[in-house]
C-alpha cells in the first residue's frame, strides 16, 4: 500500500491542532510557532500532492478507500481531481499567511489565568478548520464530505464569536460583544440549516442510490443503471444546492457573510471567505453537477439569475459600505456570483474560469483583507471615514493595499482578470444577456475598490494617522508572497489552467454539455 498522502494532508493539521491546544498556558509563543510550523509542513504535503498529481491521468487520483461505517454504507474514500488539487493547494497556501497575520490576534484575550488559553485555542481552531476543509476537498464519499462540511462550522463558529475584532472605537465593549455573538450565531444557524436540509437530501440519495460513493453513483447514472425520477432528482438537487448556496454564499442567502466577516478579525475573515466558502462552490461543481446532471440543467436559468443578482447587488452594497471589512465582504458576495455564474453557464471556459476564480479570489481577497487588517490594527477602527492620507505616512502599506484593490477589480495583469474574463466569455457564448448584465459588476468593482483606496489612502493625513508605522517585517512576509503570486498567475496562468482543464472536461461530460460553436449565429 502506498503512503496515504491525502490522509496525511488532513491528519497533519488535525494533529497539529491537538498539539497546539495542549501547549501549556505560559508558552504562548511556542504555540504560535508550532501552529505556523504545522501549516508550513501541510503546505509541503500539498506541494507533494501537486507534484504527484498528473493532470492528464485518471479522473480521481491518489485515491484511498477504507471501510468505515458499514451499516450506513459509508466508506472513507478520498481522491482528488484537478479542481480539488487546486483548492487543496490554495487552502494549504493561505493558512500559513493567516496564522502569520493573526500572530497577535488572541493577545488581547490573554489573562493571568492558568486555565484560560486563548492563544492556543485560536491557532488550534484555525488548524482544525484547515483539516476539515482539506478533507471536504478530498472526500469522494458523499457522507464523508457531509460530515466535514458540517463539522467545520463548530471551530469556525468559535473563531468568529470568541476572537472577534475589537477595532470599533465608537462602541462600548458590551455592544461589540453582543454584535460578535450575533454574527457567530447567524453564521452557524444559516449554515446549520443549510447543512441539515442537505442531510435530508443525503439520506434521500442513499435510499434512491443505495450508496454514498460519488464515483459509483456517477457511474451508475452515466450508464443508466440508476434511474432517478425527475421529481426525486430535482428535490435532491435542491437539498444539496441549498446548503452550498448558503455556504458560497448566493443571494438571497448571503446575509450572514457581512456580519461574520465584519465582526471577526481580518485573518479569520480571510479564512471564511477565501477558504471555507470555497467548499460551497467546489461542492456545486463536484456534487450537484455530477450527481444530478439533469436537475442541474433544469435549475440553471434560476441559478444564473440569482448569480447575476449576487454580482450586481453585492457590488452595489459594497459601494455604499462605511466599514472596510463589510465592504470586502460584499465585494466577495459579488465575486461568488461570478464563480456560480461560471459553474452554471455550462461551458468549459465558464467552468475553468470559475475554478481559477476560486483560487484567484482566495489569493486576492487574502491580500486585500490582510493589509486592511494591518491598517485597522494601527488605527483601531474599521470605519472608512476614520482614515485618510495613509499613503504619505505608510507608503508600503498603501501600495500593497492598492495592488490588493486592483486585484479585486480584476485589473489585467493580475490573476483575477483571467478568471473573470473566462467566466464572462463562457457565459456570453451561451447566455449573452446574462453576460452583459454581469459585466456591470466589473464597473461597480472599479468604483468600490478605487473609492475605498481614495478615501483611506489619499487626501490630507488624519491627525490620528500621522505617526502610524509602515508594514513590519512579519506583515511584509505575509503580503509580499501573496502579491507576487497574484502577479505571477496574472501573467502566466498556464500551470493552473493545465491543472484544471481536464477536470472541467469530465464535469462537462457529466452534464452532457458541449460548448456552443464559437460563432454568434449559433448562440441565438
Amino acid at each position: 500500500m502506498s503512503f496515504p498522502l491525502l490522509t496525511a494532508t488532513a491528519a497533519l493539521p488535525a494533529l497539529g491542532a491537538v498539539a497546539t491546544a495542549a501547549v501549556p498556558a505560559g508558552k504562548r509563543n511556542a504555540a504560535k510557532s508550532l501552529a505556523l510550523l504545522v501549516s508550513l509542513a501541510t503546505l509541503g504535503l500539498a506541494v507533494a500532492v501537486l507534484v504527484r498529481f498528473d493532470p492528464d491521468g485518471g479522473r480521481y487520483q491518489l485515491t484511498e478507500s477504507h471501510s468505515w461505517i458499514k451499516d450506513f454504507g459509508v466508506r472513507y474514500e478520498l481522491g482528488v481531481d484537478g479542481i480539488g488539487v487546486a483548492l487543496l493547494a490554495l487552502t494549504a497556501l493561505l493558512i500559513p499567511f493567516i496564522i502569520l497575520a493573526g500572530w497577535h490576534d488572541a493577545d488581547p484575550l490573554e489573562t493571568s489565568s492558568s486555565r484560560w488559553r486563548p492563544t492556543q485555542g485560536f491557532f488550534a481552531l484555525i488548524l482544525a478548520v484547515e483539516a476539515m476543509v482539506i478533507l471536504s476537498f478530498e472526500a469522494t464519499d458523499v457522507f464523508l464530505f457531509y460530515i466535514f462540511f458540517e463539522a467545520m462550522l463548530i471551530p469556525m463558529y468559535f473563531l468568529i464569536g470568541g476572537f472577534g475584532d475589537r477595532a470599533h472605537p465608537h462602541q462600548d465593549e458590551k455592544t461589540a460583544a453582543a454584535q460578535r455573538s450575533y454574527a457567530a450565531v447567524k453564521f452557524l444557524l444559516y449554515n446549520l440549516v443549510g447543512g441539515l436540509i442537505m442531510l435530508a437530501a443525503v439520506i434521500g440519495l442513499y435510499t434512491v442510490a443505495g450508496s454514498f460513493s460519488l464515483t459509483e453513483i456517477a457511474e451508475a447514472r452515466a450508464d443508466g443503471s440508476l434511474d432517478m425520477a425527475t421529481s426525486t432528482e430535482r428535490w435532491l438537487f435542491l437539498g444539496f444546492f441549498f446548503a452550498f448556496a448558503v455556504k458560497a454564499p448566493l443571494w438571497p442567502l448571503h446575509t450572514w457573510l457581512p456580519n461574520a466577516m465584519g465582526e471577526s478579525t481580518a485573518p479569520v475573515a480571510v479564512l471564511i471567505t477565501a477558504v471555507v466558502d470555497k467548499v460551497g462552490t467546489f461542492a456545486m461543481l463536484r456534487f450537484c453537477l455530477q450527481l444530478f446532471p439533469e436537475a442541474s440543467k433544469w435549475a440553471t436559468p434560476a441559478i444564473l439569475v440569482l448569480a447575476v443578482i449576487s454580482i450586481v447587488y453585492g457590488a452595489l452594497l459594497a459601494v455604499g459600505q462605511r466599514d472596510i471589512k463589510r465592504l470586502v465582504a460584499y465585494a466577495s458576495i459579488s465575486h461568488f456570483g461570478f464563480i456560480i455564474l461560471g459553474i452554471f453557464a455550462m461551458t468549459s471556459q465558464g467552468q475553468s474560469g470559475a475554478t481559477l476564480y476560486m483560487v484567484n479570489h482566495g489569493i486576492s481577497t487574502a491580500a486585500l483583507m490582510l493589509v486592511a487588517g494591518f491598517l485597522i490594527s494601527r488605527r483601531g477602527s474599521r470605519l472608512i471615514a476614520d482614515y485618510g492620507g495613509v499613503q504619505k505616512t505608510a507608503p508600503l502599506l498603501a501600495g500593497t493595499f492598492l495592488i490588493g484593490s486592483l486585484a479585486t477589480l480584476s485589473l489585467p495583469g493580475l490573476a483575477p482578470f483571467i478568471s473573470e474574463f473566462l467566466v464572462l466569455v463562457g457565459t456570453f457564448s451561451r447566455y449573452p444577456a446574462i453576460g452583459i448584465i454581469a459585466t456591470f459588476g466589473i464597473v461597480l468593482a472599479a468604483l468600490y475598490s478605487l473609492v475605498l483606496y481614495q478615501r483611506t489612502m489619499t487626501g490630507p493625513v488624519k491627525p490620528e494617522l500621522a505617526k502610524i508605522p509602515d508594514l513590519r517585517v512579519r506583515e511584509l512576509a505575509v503580503v509580499v508572497p501573496l502579491i507576487a503570486l497574484l502577479v505571477f498567475l496574472g501573467v502566466y496562468p498556464k500551470p493552473l489552467t493545465e491543472l484544471v482543464d481536464p477536470a472541467v472536461k469530465h464535469t462537462m461530460s457529466d452534464v452532457q454539455k458541449k460548448d456552443p460553436r464559437p460563432d454568434v449565429e449559433a448562440s441565438k
Binding site: 463539522a151 446549520l192 435530508a200
Partner: protein
Amino acid sequence: MSASAVHSLWTMAATAPASNEIGKIDAPKIEYAQLSPTLIVIGAALIGILIEAFVPRRSRYYAQVGTAVLALVAAFIAVLALAADGYGTTKAHIAAMGAVAVDGPALFLQGTILLAGLVAIFTFAERRLDPAAHGNQVDSFAAQAASVPGSDSEKAALKAGFTTTEVFPLALFAIGGMLVFPAANDLLTLFIALEVFSLPLYLLCALARRNRLMSQEAAVKYFLLGAFASAFTLFGIALLYGYSGSVSYARIAGVVDGSVQDIDPALADTMGNDALLLIGAALVVMGLLFKVGAVPFHMWTPDVYQGAPTPVTGFMAAATKVAAFGALLRLLYVVLPGLRWDWRPVMWGVAIVTMLGGAIVAITQTDIKRLLAYSSIAHAGFILAGVIAMNPEGISSVLFYLAAYSFVTIGAFAVVTLVRDAGGEATHLSKWAGLGRRSPLVAAVFAVFLLAFAGIPLTSGFAGKFAVFKAAAEGGAGPLVVVGVLSSAVAAFFYIRVIVLMFFSEPQPGGPTVAVPSALTTTAIAVGVAVTLVLGVAPQYFLDLAGQAGVFAR
C-alpha cells in the same frame, strides 16, 4: 357479558374439579439463569432494604453503594454471558411461561439500562459537591424525607448528619422494573414492570436536599399524572383481553392477524370486536407514550425534570426512556404489526408534534434543566421516527439511538450538578454566562454534550440521528425525515445559545462556581464524553451489535 356467558363460566368452574384431579397445579417452569440479570438486581435491592434495617447508620452509605455497584456489574456480566451464549440471536425465546422474552432487543436494552444505571449510581453517590453540613458529608438527597421542609425535625436530621441511603435500593428496584419492561411478553408483566419502576421513581423525585418543596411538587405531579397513565394502560389491557381472550403478546398478535380463530366461549360476545382492539391498543400505547414523554403526554416532563434531584433527573431521562421505548417497540412490532395501517398515521402525527413541539418550546426556556427536559421531548420525537419505520433497521437504529442518547443525557445532567452557587445548583441560564472563561474544561465538556444533542457530525448524536432518519426514509417516511431535520435545526438554535452563553458572554460578578467533584461524578462525565466521541467517530461495532440484536422473539 351476556347472561349465558356468565352461566357458562359458572358451570365450567363448577365442573372443573370433577374433570381434573384436585390439588395438582403444575409448578411454573422458570428459567432462572435466563432471568438472572433482573433477579440479581431485585435481589440486591432487597439486600439494600435489609442493610437499611440492620447496618449502623455510619456504614450504610458504603454498604449501599457497594451493593448497588456490585449488583449492577454482576447483572451486566449476566447479560453479556446470555448474549455470548446466543440468547440474543439464535437461542432467543420466551422464558417464564411466556411472560418474559430473552432476545436481542431485550438483552441490548437491558445492557444499556444496566450501564446507564451504573453511571447514574455514581452520580447518586457523589458527596463532594455540597459543602459539608455540621461536619458530615452530604449528597443530593434530603436528610430525612419524612420531615417537613423547614421544620425542626428537618434541622435535627441535618444536625445529626442523616442521609437518605434508601435511594440506592429504590434505584435498584426501578432498574429491576426497567429490565423487565422492554422484555415483557404479556400485558400483565408489562403492567407490573411499569409499576415496579415507576413507584420508586416517584419517591426518588421527592428527595431533593435543596428546593425541597419544588421537589415534592414535582413528585406529586409525576405521581398523579403517572397514575392516570397507568390507569389508562390497565384499562387498555382489559379491553385487549376482552378482544383476544389473552394477555399474551403472541396470542393477541395471532387474533389481530387472524391466525388464531378459536373463540373463548366466555368471551364470545367481545372477542374479535375491533372497537375493543383499537381502543385498547390506543390506551396501552398512550401509557407508554406518557413514559416516553411524547407530545401530547409530555406535560409532566419539564416540571419533574426541574424539580427532581439532578442525579435522579439524569437517571430518569436516560433509563426510563430506554425501557419505555423498548416496550413500545415490542408492543408495536410484536403485538400490533397487523394493525400498522391504523397506528402508523397516528404515530406519524405524534412524532411530528413531538419533534416540533419539544424543539420550539425549548427555545423560550431559561432554566437549564427545563431546557434539557424539552430537548428530551424533541429526542423522543426523533426516536419515534425510527419506531415508525417498521423495518429491521428501525429496530436497530432505535436501539443504537437509545444507547447513544442515554450516556449523553447522564453526562449532561452530571455537569449540571457541578455548577453551583450559594443556593445549590445554579440552573438558571443567566448564571451560566461566561462559564467557559472560568472553567474552560467543564464548559468544553458540556459543549460536547450539547453538540451531541444537536446532532453535529463526529458525535454519537449525529450517528444516532442519521440511523433513525435513514431507517425512517427507507420505511417510506420521507416527509417525517424532513420535519425531523427542520426541528433539528430549531433545536440546534437553543443548544448553540447555551454554548454562546458559556463562551462568549462576560462572566457575571457573583456567578456560580464549579465544584470539584470526586472520582464518582468525574467517572460518570468521562464515560459520557468517551461514549459520545467513540459512537460518533467509530460507531460500526455498536451498529453491528444493535443490528444483530434487532430481531424480536415471537
